[in-house]
């Protein structure tokens, strides 16, 4: 059944959303974004399988490319932040708050 796959996809997306919103460690926030992206990939593949279209599988490839780019820039920002501020806690990063 297609709905089983979509429920797993929704569960992964909700778990990732919780991680992004409720955690303050930058590393774990980035990992949660990866979990969310993977949840979306499962839905895309399920629909590709349902309709027999390989385009859905291509979108997953593109999502993987974007995820790889996102994580490399995100981790570079994290390293720059840690070097300057000696913290990975988003609660301590409020110099833009005025």
């Amino acid at each position: 059944m297609i709905s089983h796959y979509l429920i797993v996809s929704a569960a992964l997306f909700a778990i990732g959303a919780y991680g992004v919103l409720a955690r303050r460690n930058l590393l774990i926030i980035l990992m949660s974004v990866e979990v969310m992206l993977n949840g979306v990939n499962v839905a895309l593949l399920a629909f590709a399988r349902l309709y027999g279209q390989s385009a859905g599988q291509l979108f997953v490839l593109f999502v993987m490319g974007v995820a790889a780019a996102e994580v490399s820039v995100g981790l570079a920002i994290l390293i720059a932040v840690f070097r300057n501020r000696k913290t990975v806690d988003t609660g301590d990063l409020k110099s833009l708050q005025g």
């Binding site: 089983h4 429920i7 909700a14 593949l45 027999g52 291509l58 997953v60 993987m64 820039v73 570079a76």
Partner: protein, 168 residues
């Protein structure tokens, strides 16, 4: 609900359980190891969805590149337990958990009504999910997005070097 494919059920349980561990673990190194289990479970789900090429690429890119990058950064930062920062109070986290549970319910509840079965494997086009089919679609029908992704990755390479370098 119809019968559940046992392989899928096991993979889904591992994936969702490991996904939960990723977000509730305090130490990022345990989160990264949980993410490994989550990604391997996902690869099995991809195989169940007739996407063997995507499953292989998923293992290569996610566990081979992204996870290793995470582990590399965790070791580079070498955070001590007191450097992990404070978490939000339990009340705030509970509220956000309730919100995310609501989000899950909002997506999943209408799906209980969805009784569509996946079409049998024989009804799929020949070679569905194989390297040939995906590669043909990628280089013939979707050549422009493919080139744009390569530009994006190029930008990410430059951005990563620029941001992480001490002095240019």
């Amino acid at each position: 609900m119809g019968s559940i494919d046992p392989v899928f059920a096991l993979a889904a349980a591992v994936t969702v359980g490991a996904g939960l561990l990723v977000v509730i673990q305090r130490n990022p190194i345990y989160s990264a190891i949980s993410m490994l289990a989550c990604f391997l479970g996902l690869a099995v789900i991809y195989l169940r969805l007739e996407a063997p090429f995507l499953a292989a690429i998923h293992v290569l890119v996610y566990t081979g590149a992204i996870l290793v990058l995470f582990l590399f950064v965790i070791m580079l930062l070498n955070l001590k337990p007191e450097e992990l920062g404070v978490e939000y109070p339990l009340k705030v986290r509970g509220l956000i958990a309730a919100m995310c549970l609501g989000l899950f319910g909002l997506i999943a509840l209408p799906l209980w009504q969805d009784k569509r079965e996946l079409p049998p494997k024989s009804s799929l086009p020949a070679g569905f999910g194989s390297v040939e089919t995906v590669g043909h679609a990628l280089f013939v029908d979707y050549a422009l997005p493919f080139e744009l992704i390569s530009v994006l990755i190029m930008v990410a390479v430059f951005g990563g070097v620029l941001l992480a370098k001490k002095k240019l």
